[in-house]
């Protein structure tokens, strides 16, 4: 059973999320969580293999954060699809 984890800020919320992610889960960075991509020592590096990381396009653009592979930039439409494709959604904030 896969879970979509949404995170809306860097720091403790991100740390707690990473501890809870299991192989096969997905992580979506929204709002201030996109700043996590600026950190060389990002907690995202600690994610298990096979966990795709997504970023909401308008939140990344609004903050001037560049996104590079393997992180994928997505729209709100895709956010909804990810909610459908995963059996559960957990929000970290």
């Amino acid at each position: 059973m896969s879970t979509l984890h949404t995170v809306n800020k860097p720091g403790p919320a991100m740390a707690l999320c990473v501890r809870a992610v299991a192989s096969g889960d997905s992580v979506l960075l929204i709002e201030d969580a996109v700043y996590e991509l600026l950190s060389p020592a990002s907690r995202l590096n600690a994610l298990p293999d096979g966990c795709p990381v997504y970023v909401l396009d308008i939140d990344a653009k609004a903050r001037g954060v560049a996104v590079s592979a393997p992180v994928e930039v997505i729209s709100y439409d895709r956010f909804v699809s990810l909610c459908v494709d995963n059996e559960k959604v957990l929000s970290w904030f």
Partner: protein
């Protein structure tokens, strides 16, 4: 698919109501159903009728109300969170002998049980934290 949305942040100091509105529009556009909106903690400020954001900024309470009414959504505002923040309907205003009421039309004050009820009714509960 059935969605329930919970909003925990206020328009003036959190992106939560804006993110939730973007998401809700995408949910409806894809033909899914929103079975419950629940405004909790500072999120109750989304339902006030008397906030006036500057004219060159988006008016999220207004946009949210238009969305709620256009799609005839079940929009619940946590009554305990609302009372302590000064968001009241006519009945609560009368009960506490307050000088007015400011809950926008289309919303209903009710208890936290409605969040649990929404979680049980929906296939997915998406929370937009402060």
């Amino acid at each position: 698919m059935k969605f329930a949305l919970a909003v925990y942040g206020a328009p003036a100091n959190s992106q939560a109501p804006q993110s939730a509105l973007h998401f809700a529009r995408a949910v409806v556009a894809q033909g899914h159903e929103i079975v419950r909106l629940f405004f909790y903690q500072d999120g109750v400020n989304t339902a006030t009728a008397i906030a006036q954001p500057p004219q060159d900024e988006s008016n999220l309470p207004e946009e949210w109300q238009q969305f709620v009414q256009a799609h005839n959504l079940d929009a619940v505002v946590c009554i305990a969170a609302a009372l302590r923040r000064g968001v009241v309907d006519q009945a609560e205003s009368d009960r506490y002998d307050l000088p007015g009421h400011n809950l926008r039309k289309g919303y209903e004050l009710s208890g936290l049980g409605q969040l649990l009820d929404g979680a049980l009714m929906a296939d997915r509960l998406i929370t937009f934290g402060a």
